[in-house]
């Protein structure tokens, strides 16, 4: 029988060892520092409460991250079921004989050949963050889950209880708005 090393928990070291790591993990995914802080604290509390459930096979950090991931998903669920007040801007005619066609004022402009090179630019990253932040919360959450956190479509649909066509409508609207925002704030000049 193999002697697999079993991990132990040391809660009084958690803040020193993992607080920044967990905070960073949460902050890049919920786009809100205060919320991220709360989630880290809740993660530690859950860790204390559930420490008898720790089987010692994963490392302490991995275990804490899995608790944090769970809390982030729960947060997304809450956002998703909340009545959406803000909607994305419409870029295509929603009905009539031009249904599905680009609205004139919204058609993509030319970005020029320099566009690709801009990707390395730090300032562009700030503009991108701003544009992401301008998305309505529900759209931002789903978009980040899929694009940044690389969750599978099926996973997101199961967690948030939405259909895959629903998911793609959200992703599509988010991307169309993002593109427009980047065009207006970066690529046009």
């Amino acid at each position: 029988m193999s002697d697999t090393k079993k991990h132990t928990l040391y809660p009084n070291k958690w803040v020193v060892l993992y607080a920044d790591y967990l905070f960073n993990y949460a902050a890049t995914r919920v786009d809100n520092s205060d919320l991220a802080k709360d989630l880290v604290q809740e993660t530690f509390f859950s860790g204390i409460k559930g420490k008898d459930n720790f089987r010692g096979q994963a490392s302490e950090r991995t275990w804490l991250i899995s608790i944090l991931k769970r809390k982030i998903i729960d947060h997304y669920r809450k956002i998703n079921s909340a009545k959406g007040k803000k909607e994305v801007r419409v870029s295509f005619y929603p009905d009539g004989d031009r249904k599905g066609s680009w609205i004139e004022e919204c058609v993509p402009q030319t970005w020029g050949n320099e566009a690709e090179k801009a990707i390395e630019n730090d300032e562009l990253k700030d503009t991108l963050d701003k544009c992401i932040h301008n998305l309505p919360e529900k759209y931002r959450m789903v978009f980040l889950l899929k694009t940044v956190q690389n969750y599978e479509t099926e996973e997101i649909c199961n967690e948030l209880d939405i259909s895959s066509s629903n998911l793609w409508v959200i992703i599509h609207r988010a991307r169309v708005q993002l593109r427009k925002c980047m065009e207006e704030n970066w690529f046009k000049n």
Binding site: T28, K37, S101, V107, T147, V148, R175
Partner: protein
């Protein structure tokens, strides 16, 4: 013939590798005829590339807790441990 809204949706799906062969066929046909969607398609790819290493580049100094914040966390956590 699919609409621009449908075409650009397929284009989005394609960024994640989730467009079917039939989707792609309809998209490419639409792109032959629609310069707006053709522009969207090029720009969509650039946007995808921007997110390529997004998580790595967001690890900056502002995403750390201050020592006061950590002290408070310690305090709250110790209450729970004991």
């Amino acid at each position: 013939m699919i609409s621009c809204d449908e075409a650009t949706t397929i284009c989005d799906k394609n960024q994640y590798g989730e467009a079917s062969a039939w989707d792609k066929f309809r998209l490419n046909f639409h792109l032959l005829l629609c310069k707006h969607c053709k522009a969207y398609s090029k720009q969509n790819l650039i946007i995808t590339k921007m997110f390529g290493n997004y998580l790595d580049t967001t690890c900056d100094a502002s995403k750390h807790l201050t020592s006061e914040e950590k002290k408070e966390l310690e305090k709250n956590l110790n209450k729970k441990i004991n």
